[in-house]
């Protein structure tokens, strides 16, 4: 019971943080591209790298959730 709850909380809390972070980063990137369309390619590459870093933290939560589910 506790383990299942922990698995759910691990992935959901990690998802909240990652979602907020990705929203901020993506929104700012779109703003930058809309303001200066000629730097679109550079901004897109940087956005991908940033999103990958943010996503990693969420994936750590997912990994912990899988490990906890594997323990049940």
């Amino acid at each position: 019971m506790g383990v299942a709850l922990g698995a759910g909380l691990a992935v959901s809390i990690a998802g909240i943080g990652g979602g907020i972070g990705m929203g901020v980063a993506g929104g700012k990137a779109f703003e930058a591209i809309a303001r200066q369309p000629e730097v679109g390619g550079d901004v897109r590459t940087l956005l991908f790298i940033t999103l990958a870093f943010i996503e990693t933290l969420t994936i750590y939560g997912l990994l912990i959730a899988f490990m906890l589910v594997g323990k049940i």
Partner: protein, 227 residues
């Protein structure tokens, strides 16, 4: 073995069990190799067909990595490895979406096993330091004590966190996606998993691009000026 489901072992090669994952990898490597062989078998000055497509890929990737790394000779040296990463990861991610793949027991795409992604990340890890030493020689070690000696432990932890995050990102994404599809197939066998499968076509490509770009930016950081 936590995440490496070892059922469906075909035969043993010495101490190594050859299972679905290794056979899938062999098929992917053979596929890329065969296409590359047929593309370059009868090369012409004015390319057509397959050779044309491959020359387009090569030029596009060289341009992209040159722009990312700022140094053309470094980009030329490492672009083949990075492009190979991209093609291999892309085909591995997509191999889980083949029709009928879910019906084979023990089948999973190679990148959804953390042994495979750790291997790819270790190749990146060693490539980064080899690239750094090849570019700067002994001065490369100064990179670890910048801006001061007090930062040495933090820099070392950062270097070790790179392969860990590369491993976990690729493996977690593909494994999670496979789990979601398996769960949906179990809940609603028709139509509903199609939506997630369409999404995972996009995800597989993005993860391949992200792994390649991050490897390229680690190499760029190791070979760049500024330390």
């Amino acid at each position: 073995m936590l995440f490496g489901m070892l059922d469906g072992v075909f035969f043993h090669l010495g101490p190594i069990p050859v299972d679905h994952i290794i056979v899938t990898e062999w098929v992917i490597i053979a596929l890329i190799g065969l296409i590359a062989y047929f593309a370059t078998r009868d090369m012409q000055m004015v390319p057509r067909g397959l050779q044309n497509a491959f020359e387009m890929i090569i030029i596009w990737t060289y341009d992209f990595f040159t722009q990312l790394m700022d140094k053309e000779h470094v980009a030329k040296k490492w672009a083949p490895l990075l492009t190979a990463f991209f093609l291999f990861i892309l085909l591995s991610n997509y191999s889980g979406l083949l029709p009928g793949a879910a019906g084979i027991s023990g089948y999973q795409p190679p990148t959804s096993n953390w042994n495979i992604t750790l291997t790819l990340a270790m190749i990146t890890f060693f490539s980064v330091h080899i690239a750094g030493f090849a570019e700067h020689g002994g001065h490369y070690l100064g990179h670890f004590v910048s801006p001061s000696w007090a930062m040495l432990p933090l820099n070392l932890v950062e270097e070790l966190a790179h392969p860990l995050s590369l491993t976990v990102r690729l493996f977690g994404n593909i494994f999670g996606e496979e789990m979601v599809i398996a769960f949906l197939l179990f809940m609603a066998p028709f139509i509903v998993p199609g939506a997630i499968m369409g999404l995972s076509l996009l995800l597989g490509a993005i993860q391949a691009i992200v792994f390649t770009i991050l490897s390229a930016s680690y190499i760029a950081a190791a070979t760049g000026e500024g330390h």
